[in-house]
């Protein structure tokens, strides 16, 4: 899967998993911060994304502290998934 294709898929999955009722996929800038100022997600959302990664992509994040780097933006998350899926 190409990076841009994965970004589009992730946008939809995150909206569904986190029940972001008023957010459309195109509203999520792939380079904006997911947490804090960007989408305004919080620690519970981070746990939900960890579950999403394991369930949909078979990627297990053993150390939750990694999340801070991996979840910085949708693009960084997509790159991480592609790199780790290839590694597997």
């Amino acid at each position: 899967m190409e990076e841009n294709e994965l970004i589009d898929k992730l946008r939809k999955e995150i909206i569904q998993q986190l029940n972001l009722e008023d957010v459309k996929p195109e509203d999520i800038d792939p380079d904006s911060a997911l947490f804090g100022e960007g989408l305004g997600l919080d620690s519970i959302d981070a746990l939900e994304i960890i579950v999403l990664l394991e369930k949909n992509y078979g990627i297990k994040i053993e150390d939750p502290k990694q999340g801070k780097t991996i979840f910085a933006s949708i693009r960084i998350l997509a790159k991480y998934i592609l790199a780790n899926q290839k590694a597997q």
Binding site: L20, E21, G40, I44, E48, V51, K55
Partner: protein, 355 residues
């Protein structure tokens, strides 16, 4: 010391959300189970960023609680006490199904955290920034009664000037299908407004969220005085229930003669309704009898809806035509006795008076 109902918030299978209308036009859902009529938008009550995570029962609980304290003109209740028979069923089902689907390896944190019984009481406290006493009772058919008793005790012992007390339960399709195996429910869709007319085996399940703001002092918004409550568990005979009713009346220097209206928890189930008939015939033969489960269905905390009906009847001095089961509406309604039982095991009796 007196206890007054001074604010109410009610989300039910009827149009009860607007406190300025009573009685509203009765709604027939013609279904296997009754579901609550939701507010047009929860955005009017709950911040959308918070509400996106909340399941239906939590939104209903928070909203009815906020309506209740607003009705009473109180911003920080002295206690928040909730009664629920089953808690957050939808969240519980979601996280259990996810675990099953994923061989018990993955669990959605949101559904797991919010599946606990005390989620509603705590979410209300978080929104109100209320750090006062907070508790949740989960005792099947006595859940709401336990919450109410605790609130009355707190207020009478002067720990709290006011208390927000709620009874809340939800029904889901899965829960209906599982509990149908017990044989408690009707097997075909039913006109709920005709529930009392066709008595047979089983009843209609329902759901609801009703919050009351209790105050120690009478105020402009007060609906009625809550004179007392008694509970009877698994009575050997109906004489035991009758004895408790007599004791409650005597404690308030009243007799059966002073009761203007009996509101019962009859639900159309032949066996269960015979209990109410026996009590009414032996103690209140000439009195008007009303019911409320044709409006809300049967659930563990349905007595909270019964209390909502009683409080509104006393405030508006109006008995909805659809609620009258026997007799004629009295001209003045000073005292109401509310009797509810769940499966013949948990009986509760409440006494309310006009202010």
């Amino acid at each position: 010391m007196s206890t007054y109902i001074s604010g109410i918030g009610c989300i039910s299978p009827q149009k009860t959300i607007d406190n300025s209308v009573f009685p509203a036009e009765a709604v027939n859902q013609n279904a296997l189970f009754l579901q609550c009529i939701q507010p047009e938008s929860y955005r009017d009550y709950i911040n959308p960023i918070l509400s996106r995570r909340l399941s239906k029962i939590i939104k209903m609980g928070i909203t009815s609680a906020l309506i209740s304290i607003k009705d009473a003109g109180i911003s920080n209740p002295g206690a928040i006490i909730t009664g629920t028979g089953l808690g957050c069923v939808e969240d519980t089902e979601k996280f259990l199904m996810t675990m099953l689907d994923n061989n018990e390896t993955l669990m959605n944190p949101t559904n797991f955290m919010q599946s606990t019984y005390n989620t509603i009481s705590s979410q209300i406290a978080i929104i109100l920034k209320c750090f006062n006493y907070n508790s949740t009772y989960v005792h099947r058919g006595f859940s709401f009664e336990s919450a109410l008793t605790d609130a009355i005790d707190l207020m009478q012992s002067t720990v709290a000037e006011s208390a927000l007390v709620g009874g809340i339960d939800e029904i889901t399709e899965n829960h209906f299908n599982v509990t149908s195996l017990l044989g408690h429910w009707r097997t075909k869709p039913q006109n709920n407004l005709e529930l009392f007319e066709h008595k047979q085996k089983g009843t209609l399940p329902g759901e609801g969220s009703v919050f009351f703001t209790l105050t120690r002092n009478k105020q402009a918004s007060t609906y009625c005085e809550l004179k007392g409550i008694k509970t009877v568990y698994k009575p050997a005979t109906m004489d035991v229930v009758a004895g408790s009713i007599c004791a409650l009346l005597a404690e308030n220097k009243l007799t059966a003669h002073n009761i203007d209206l009996i509101i019962t928890g009859m639900n159309g189930d032949q066996q269960g309704d015979a209990v109410y008939d026996e009590i009414c015939q032996t103690m209140f033969d000439t009195k008007a009898v009303a019911g409320f489960k044709n409006l809300c269905g049967e659930y563990h905390t349905a007595s909270a809806f019964g209390l909502w009906l009683a409080a509104n009847i006393l405030k508006w001095q109006e008995v909805p035509k659809i609620s009258i089961y026997k007799g004629f509406r009295p001209n003045t309604i000073q005292n109401i006795l509310l009797h509810n039982h769940v499966e013949g095991k948990q009986h509760s009796i409440m006494l309310l008076s006009k202010v």
